[in-house]
């Protein structure tokens, strides 16, 4: 059970993650993503929305599976830029990891 943290999305803005709340969880991105993997990338975007920081850090490895192919960003009906959000999360995780925070 996780406590929703609505402030997390704001924290991520520093890493260029600023479209996550545009996402209305339609799942188009997960359907078109060639990774075909456990709701990716919507899963990560939903985690941003509800502020599930631990989940993101625990599953950080998945972020690096993304091909940056851009299909999701191209097809997202809400211009939530899912592919760019994944890159932004990578930047966030790298920065966390450099700051010595346990990843």
């Amino acid at each position: 059970m996780a406590l929703v943290n609505p402030d997390f999305a704001a924290e991520l803005q520093a890493y260029g993650v600023d479209t996550a709340l545009e996402c209305f969880n339609c799942g188009t991105c997960a359907a078109i993503c060639p990774l075909n993997y456990e709701h990716f990338p919507r899963k990560m975007i939903r985690y941003i929305q509800v502020g599930a920081k631990q989940q993101i850090l625990q599953q950080a490895q998945d972020l690096w599976r993304c091909l940056h192919c851009g299909l999701c960003t191209r097809t997202c009906p809400r211009q939530a830029n899912p592919g760019e959000l994944i890159l932004g999360l990578r930047r966030y995780v790298v920065a966390q990891s450099r700051r010595g925070e346990h990843v």
């Binding site: 950080a60 599976r65 091909l67 299909l71």
Partner: protein
């Protein structure tokens, strides 16, 4: 737990030391221009900027082949990333590992690009000292700091040399220079992929070439919406091509970028794309070194756009 920084830090250190992620000085593998005939810079000329992508492929491939033998070892996780760092195998003699034929093929593509640009009377020059790796890998992996540092260096250096117009040869470098540099370094250039500059007369009407099928790289087809350029070149040469359903803005990824994370995943995506292309029953043409190398692995008859154009121009002329 997963620590992305392990490998990112290694790559970033390489970029800091050698200005490229491979950890060897560019001069070791950027040798194609020696056989390309000289080019003098005239005022207003554009800089031909390879971004060192085509040159690096044979080395990466060689490293991969070597590392594949270690696939089952506990090192595998990190070794896959090691393929991008041929320097880690320095002791084994990189040149020795890298097949001469491969090097010749990829260098040949760059040489051909030079030749067709000249034939199209494009005013350009090349200088190995002004040709850098773009930093795109660091950006992609999320090392914003490393990317910024490198990109600023490259942008500043180019500006210092008075470069304004740039001709690129691969989609990744084009994306970095066209989209990322202005956004993150504040420096803008006039960036044009070489194929949009070609003006080649229809000499010999395609020479009876069979039709080809096009594979658009993600960055050209989707991000930069430049899929039309290569098609125009083919049409002007009287070469026929067919389209697969997933093309242009909706092209399918070849799986290349996943190679370092998971060869199995990369393979799966590659096979899906290969099946789409194979259905067209025609030789494949692409215009990205990563796509080219990856599609070759699927055993498809594939060549670079430059090679096809070069051959057609040769035969006709």
């Amino acid at each position: 737990m997963f620590k992305p920084t392990d490998i990112i830090d290694l790559l970033a250190a390489n970029v800091r030391q050698t200005r490229n992620p491979f950890g060897v000085p560019a001069s070791r593998f950027n040798t194609w221009w020696r056989d390309a005939g000289g080019s003098t810079r005239r005022p207003g000329d554009a800089l031909l900027f390879t971004g060192l992508m085509y040159q690096a492929i044979p080395f990466i491939e060689a490293t991969t082949r070597y590392l594949e033998r270690l696939e089952d070892s506990p090192w595998a996780e990190h070794l896959r990333w090691g393929r991008l760092v041929p320097a880690s195998l320095r002791g084994l003699g990189l040149d020795y590992l890298t097949a001469a034929a491969e090097k010749k093929k990829f260098n040949g593509i760059l040489q051909t690009i030079c030749r067709v640009l000249k034939k199209s009377q494009v005013g350009f020059f090349y200088h190995p000292e002004m040709d850098f790796y773009s930093g795109i890998l660091l950006y992609d992996l999320g090392d914003q700091e490393g990317f910024l540092r490198h990109a600023r260096f490259v942008a500043r250096t180019l500006k210092l040399h008075g470069v304004q117009k740039i001709i690129t040869v691969d989609p990744h470098t084009t994306y970095a220079l066209k989209e990322l540099y202005p956004k993150y370094t504040g420096e803008s250039f006039e960036v044009t992929p070489y194929f949009t500059l070609l003006h080649l007369a229809k000499e010999g009407g395609g020479n009876g070439q069979p039709p080809v099928v096009l594979h658009d790289p993600c960055f050209y087809g989707r991000y930069l919406k430049l899929a039309e350029g290569p098609r125009q070149v083919l049409r002007s040469l009287g070469l026929e091509y067919v389209e697969v359903r997933n093309c242009g803005e909706f092209t399918s990824c070849c799986g290349g970028p996943a190679e370092s994370v998971s060869p199995a995943l990369s393979r799966e995506i590659l096979e899906r794309r290969a099946a789409e292309l194979q259905a067209a029953a025609a030789p494949v043409v692409t215009f990205c070194p990563i796509c080219l190398a990856n599609l070759l692995k699927a055993g498809l008859p594939v060549e670079d756009l430059a090679s096809l154009v070069g051959r057609t121009v040769n035969n006709g002329g």
